[in-house]
Amino acid sequence: MTVRFVPQLDLAQREALAELLLSLADDEFVIGFWDSEWTGIAPMLEEDVATSSIAQDEIGHAKALYEMLAELTDDDADRIAYGRAAEDFRHAALLNHARRDWAFSVARRYLYETADAVRLTALAASTYEPLAMLAGKMRREETYHLLHADAWLRRLADGAAEPRERLASALRTLWADAQELFAPLDGEAALVRAGVLREPMHALDTEWQGQVRRRLEPITGELPAAAPTADGRTRRTDEFAWLHGEFTSVASSEEAAIW
């Protein structure tokens, strides 16, 4: 068996790492549940299968991350996933919105997948090896999601006027909230010093914007200057409160339920 290198982290670094793992896990968990809202009603059968499969991947990634977090903080993955109030979730503001129409879901998927690719590439180089290994594995799976999102973006953008306009409008609506995938974390500087995080979040945001603006602006027109904000992972909406009620309904009615 491989002996993993786990850097000695002080209390502040461990707390910051816990915050990082929670934000990653909550992002994957919440987008997975929004995707699952399309199961059975996607625009075509192939898409029904694809969206459901992607949702299953994301919730699986969340499970692995919650388990890593539970080990770090001596907690329980099920409690973290299903035992928290809506306001204790730390997903990015991009994931506060309900699925709305197909173009809106495609726009969010594209923004999410491209940002997630930048983030996973950075995390695969983390000195915290359990996370680096998991991120490397997740990245291989996420490649399929990214290609899928990209194919849909092209399809809607190159289509008739209405789908193109719906897509453009959704992208403009979500643009500011998408930056919050890189919202600063408490204690982030400590993580960068320990090499757990390769670069500060805002640097990853700049890298991501450089990639996606080239792709999106021919569709949306010029996108405004945008940057991550301090409350980007704590703002919550009524739409998320509704989803939270849905995904905690089993756990709240049957305490002993497990994954």
Binding site: M1, S53, D57, T143, L147
Partner: protein, 172 residues
């Protein structure tokens, strides 16, 4: 630690046993041929098996763990059997053995092509390498219908020559 009169070491006996456990989703292939067994170690107190999931969210992981504990436990090599999930190294479709690839093909699944699913790190140059050989007629005149199939690890293709839909064990 070879017992007197025995030709198989305890580790080899565990590998033999694991080679007889079928994948829960594609029973034609064993866990060993699928490449999901990372390592086996037999200690006095426990047999430790490292399991490398094909996909992080694979719902068959718990079933595999249970079957390994049950079957390897029956060998009575130690007090208990521990099955640890690991992503180190990550499972890739290149880990499927030549025999496993043949078994997949015989049961109607195209084995994955070798190498990663896509090349290029920049979005502009990212392209999926989606070639699959039809498991029925051997044609490469096939198209990917859906990168997402009935389970996380399977994609759906169509063969233009024999006009059969088929599944590919996903390249990852």
């Amino acid at each position: 630690m070879v017992m007197p009169g025995s030709v198989r070491s305890p580790e080899e006996r565990v590998w033999d046993e694991l080679g007889g456990i079928a994948d829960p989703e594609i029973p034609a292939i064993s866990l060993v041929d699928l490449g999901v067994i990372g390592s086996v170690a037999v200690h006095d107190d426990a047999v430790r098996v490292e399991l490398l999931p094909t996909f992080v969210g694979c719902p068959a992981i718990a079933v595999m763990q249970d079957r390994i504990r049950e079957r390897v436990g029956a060998l009575n090599l130690a007090e208990r059997v521990e099955v640890e999930i690991s992503f180190d190294p990550p499972w890739t479709s290149d880990r499927i053995s030549p025999q496993g690839r043949e078994r997949l093909r015989m049961s109607g699944f195209a084995p994955p092509q070798f190498g990663p699913a896509a090349v290029g790190s920049d979005l502009a140059e990212l392209t999926v390498l989606s070639i699959a050989e039809c498991p029925y007629c051997g044609s490469r005149n096939t198209t990917m219908e859906n990168a997402f199939g009935p389970t996380l690890c399977r994609a759906i293709y169509h063969c233009a020559d024999c006009r059969q839909p088929f599944e590919q064990f996903k390249r990852v």
